[in-house]
Amino acid sequence: MDWNAFAEFSLIGLLSGGLLALVALGFVLIYKGTRVVNFAMGEFMMLGAYGVYTAHVMWGLPLVLAIPIALAGVAGAALLVERFVLRPLAGQPVISVLMATIGLGAVMHGGIDAVWGGQNLEMPQILPRKPLMLGDIMIPGTALWSFVLALAVIAALTLYFRYSRTGVAMRAAASDPITAYALGIDVRRTQQLTWVFAGCVGAVAGVIVASMSSLSPAIGGVALGVLAVIILGGLDSIAGAIIAGLIIGWLESVCVGYFGGKARDVVPYAVVLAILMLRPYGLLGSRDIERL
């Protein structure tokens, strides 16, 4: 058994798992805050990536300006979405909200396709490319730095939710909106903020993914693979998203290494089915208690 090959695939997998964890974080934030699974997350990622492309490549602004501008754009889009799509559907059955996010995804995808076209565009190089050589094992620079960046964002968000006033208010509103209202927390504002954060997290993930390969509407497809991460980790657990991201990333990479690229089609969904059969709420998710 070639341990070097196994170690290489494992390491690459763990590193790409960081990125998966970041996207999963976006899903988990929205689910925790508003009990909605946002099937349009892939499109938020695309919006962020295309935003940076437009600001940096098309308008010629330096990256330091381009990235905040793109993030601001995505935040604005998230606010519009929350106000005009999600708020009218508050309290509606699950299927309505699910289809609304799917419809939203279609609108955003079509819009991006219409404005920027479907071809592959070259993103500027944001992450350093120099690979890390550990003996025989090569870690591509992009994999390494995407992991570092993803981890930084996750850490920043976790600290924010733990220690800042608004963060704590968001957590309170997420766990019990009525009590939060009673304590004077503006729950509607926290829900808006949740969407803004999730959108920005998605945008950052999208920029990272685009700079690793190339910019095209295919980036949105990454989000469907992240479904496995959030199911494994638990729909409302941030820690679960991180752990599950690493596990799924590692599993996918090792399977690709030994069974070929087609494993990417099977592994995430087989994991989803297995988890749903054995332990539906995932590793760290909270149980839904239904009352008559």
Binding site: M138, A218, V222
Partner: protein, 400 residues
């Protein structure tokens, strides 16, 4: 409640009005026109190829009308509609255009479409078809009688590359890896390629399949790198993820590996996108490139027309392909009409197969014979990152 009702009513009214557009559009047509229908992939994964294809084919029709009055005095009318590189959309466009215009010539969007529509086209027996597909199954006059391709089959292209590798490798058996995409387009020539590889006695060290549209290929590249190939043949891609593969391999220190591709990844834009890492990118192309029009009058004509009509300075390979397909369609129509035969499938097939030793005006280097429903010739080119152009690395090779 009333506001909601008025919104729904006005939307319904608009929808009804817009449906009127269909008969209006067809009413603007003219009798006696020769319609060339097409369902190019203008949006979707192969969008930039599709847009240029569409332009090339359409521009040839307008150029032919302007300069030669059409075919035998009948103007060519080009009707195309986007297929989004989705098979069901392409079929829908095909059925719609067939119902509305009954075109004697039709250009599809992919290998999948061509194979799926083959049965219906045979049964209709009224149209000669082409598409961006060079699948070996479709170069069979018995199985696909009304289909032709404007180049050699994918299997023949890879065969050319393998023969080239065999010829230039003097010391020992070179290690070869094949990377292809998991689509009909990608998988088509692989069995024939592997068989030919074995026949030549070359070493296949790795076979990598990538999911179409996948963005993260780090694990696949790691697998490829570990196999330490001397040559890597890519097939089934237009651009992504080739640059990422090459970049990561070069960063891993595999500077000596040669990377090669087949026709659809041999466009200047693909190679330019690779930047410095694209230096040495090789592959098979059945046509000349836009900058190479010294002994090729038609290349010059095409360039000038594109420049005049669309301000395009450098004509890409997809435009060239579209232009050439237009030429072949016109030639088939012309020969059928000249023989005073009705424009149906069997007659046009006979006309197609009568095209031997035909001068394409330099687009293809050798005289073309379409008897086998393909153009069995091509040349190997190498990309020079300094001049940003593809230069020939071999003479014109006949494959069949």
């Amino acid at each position: 409640m009333t506001r909601r009702r008025s919104i729904v009513q006005s939307a319904a009214g608009l929808a009804g009005l817009s449906a009127l557009g269909v008969p209006l559009a067809t009413a603007l047509a003219q009798e006696g026109d020769l319609v060339i229908g097409a369902a190019p992939p203008i949006t979707g994964v192969f969008a930039f190829a599709g847009v240029s294809l569409d332009q090339g084919l359409g521009d040839y029709c307008s150029w032919r009308n302007e300069s030669k009055g059409g075919v035998m005095g009948r103007r060519l009318r080009y009707v195309s509609e986007d297929s989004g590189y989705k098979m069901d959309q392409a079929m829908a466009v095909f059925k719609k255009l067939m119902a509305a215009h009954k075109p004697p010539a039709f250009y599809g969007d992919s290998t999948a479409w061509a194979k799926a529509a083959a049965a219906e086209v045979s049964q209709l027996g009224s149209t000669i078809t082409c598409s961006p597909s060079y699948s070996s199954d479709l170069a069979d006059p018995a199985k696909a009688p009304y289909y032709f391709m404007a180049g050699p089959t994918y299997a023949a292209m890879i065969q050319i590359l393998l023969e080239y590798i065999n010829r230039i490798s003097k010391a020992g058996k070179p290690n070869i890896a094949i990377v292809y995409s998991d689509t009909e387009f990608g998988r088509d020539p692989i069995p024939a390629a592997k068989a030919h590889l074995a026949k030549l006695g070359l070493n296949l060290v790795q076979e990598i399949v990538t999911k179409p549209g996948s963005v993260d290929v780090s694990a696949e590249v790691a697998k490829l790198r570990r196999a330490k190939p001397d040559y890597v043949i890519f097939h089934g891609y237009v651009l992504a993820p080739i640059p990422e593969f090459i970049r990561q391999m070069r960063e891993a220190g595999m500077g000596a590996t040669t990377f090669m591709g087949t026709i659809w990844s041999m466009d200047k834009s693909t190679a330019d996108a690779m930047g410095a890492t694209g230096d040495g990118w090789m592959g098979v192309m059945p046509y000349r490139y836009s900058h190479d029009h010294k002994d090729a009058p038609m290349m010059g004509v095409m360039r000038d027309y594109a420049q005049k009509k669309r301000q395009i300075a450098y004509v890409n390979t997809f435009y060239t392909h579209g232009w050439l397909v237009g030429m072949i369609f016109s030639e088939v129509l012309e020969r059928t009409l000249k023989a005073r035969k009705p424009l149906n499938g069997p007659n046009m097939k006979a006309a197609l197969e009568s095209i031997t030793d035909w001068d394409t005006g330099g687009i293809c280097g050798l005289l073309v014979s379409l008897k086998g429903h393909q153009i069995p010739s091509g040349r190997i080119y190498r990309y020079d990152a300094a001049s940003k152009l593809f230069e020939p690395a071999s003479g014109w090779i006949r494959t069949a």
